[in-house]
Amino acid sequence: MIEVKNVNKSFGEQLVLIDINAVFKPGKINMIIGRSGSGKTVLLKSVIGLHSPETGEILFDGREFIRANIKFKREIRKEIGMVFQGGALFTSQSVEDNIMFPLNLFTNMSKKEKIDRVNFCLDRVNIHNANKLFPSEISGGMQKRVAIARAMVLNPKYLFCDEPNSGLDPQTAILIDQLIHELTVEYNMTTIINTHDMNSIMQIADNIIFIFEGRKWWQGGREDIFYTDNTELNDFVFASELCKKIKKSNS
């Protein structure tokens, strides 16, 4: 479980996160949604320690993270898997080496064990016969799946995804969503996804946090989103004609 308590973050004079409180439970998909520039990426990066909030606490299963020393932070980070928006695969390494990278650094597995683990992870994300290919030789959807495989190779307790569907076609996006959902349930991970993809929200979100102008504006499940009277959330969610029609038919 990840707890965010009274987190504030600013860049210079500009307040980006204002008194954010949230609880992210294990085995659930938690989604941070909001308009571009609302502060959702800053919140995600603050939780994983890439930004340092000025005040507040972030607890990973009760362990304080923000004020922990760098050594302790690195220990917690070994329990984190992260899928970046662009995949962030190491371009100079093959698919196999990318996934094997955390194993080389943090385990004492034999070469065969490592290859078996890599193949298991690749199989799990439905990638076959691509071990020796380089990131530039595979499609965007495959890169995302390799990034997921790399994130899960050490069996993380916490999975973070920064806009995992950006730049993907709707069908591939659905596959990625399903994969993240399956892995979350299978490994009982605490998953936090930063997105503004309404399909993802409607398909797999268990807990939704809506960030508006740096504040937590609304929180609830995906069913609640249709019946809320929160104006800003409605403006965000039902911005497209398709979503307006869905809401109309639901109501």
Binding site: R74, M82, Q85, A88, N104, L105
Partner: protein, 246 residues
């Protein structure tokens, strides 16, 4: 104030760089990879520049030594001392600042803007140590070899002039090479290139590591890395010469 801020930022980065690597085996593997990229891939440029400069320098000195009172062996002596004292350490490092420095800054800068460095940090890896320490170590190992190679090839370039032209005899040139040789000059040259290798790799890595933005900023970081490396190499050349030779 900004200067102190940048120096502070550089020192903080270096304190993260000079820590114990997570896995010694992986560290050495990366050092060998970097030796190939930083050292081996620079052999051709160092060789070409040294041979041609040795030849041209010998020609120019020979042409200008027209007075009969100036002994011809001074041509060999000047070629030797120029290469040992200045060319093979300082000038070669200025060339390497352009080749190696821009390569390091753009490589690390690209990793920064494509979130690969963030990915390393999230995995619990000290990204500064993992990325930069092997480069500094590789440069410290390979630059002195490039220095010695440059000295040998530069003198060889001059020798070719002695063989192919009649501006100086082979005997005079070789006699000049051996005349009043001071072995400490080699030590001085090696000390300089070791210091310069740390400057070039660390300053370039610093500019790459703190790249923010997009492709344009990577280009700017690369340019800054080369410019600041060259300025610092020249500054430390002066300081080291003052300390070691006077």
């Amino acid at each position: 104030m900004k200067l102190f801020s940048v120096i502070g930022q550089y020192l903080i980065l270096m304190s993260a760089v000079f820590t114990k690597p997570i896995r010694t085996r992986i560290f050495f593997k990366r050092v060998f990879e970097e030796i190939e990229q930083i050292g081996m891939d620079s052999i051709w440029i160092v060789s070409i520049v040294s041979v041609f400069m040795g030849a041209v320098l010998t020609l120019q000195v020979a042409i200008n030594f027209t007075s009969p009172v100036i002994p011809q062996y001074l041509i060999g002596l000047s070629a030797r001392d120029t290469f040992i004292l200045e060319f093979s350490s300082t000038i070669i490092c200025l060339i390497l600042a352009g080749k190696v420095g821009s390569n390091i800054a753009s490589e690390i800068g690209t990793m920064r803007i494509t979130e690969q460095i963030d990915a390393l940090e999230i995995m619990g890896v000290n990204s500064a140590n993992y990325l930069i320490l092997p480069k500094i170590t590789a440069a410290l190992i390979s630059f002195p070899f490039l220095n010695l190679l440059s000295i040998i090839l530069g003198i060889f370039g001059g020798y070719l002039i002695a063989v192919m032209t009649d501006v100086v005899t082979i005997y005079d040139y070789v006699y000049g090479l051996n005349y009043m040789f001071i072995p400490f000059y080699i030590t001085y040259s090696l000390i300089k290139i070791c210091v310069f290798s740390i400057i070039i790799t660390s300053v370039s890595a610093f500019h790459g590591y703190y790249t923010f933005g997009g492709a344009l900023e990577v280009g700017k970081s690369s340019t800054k890395a080369v410019v600041y490396s060259i300025i610092l190499v020249l500054l430390f050349n002066l300081i080291l010469t003052q300390l070691l030779l006077t």
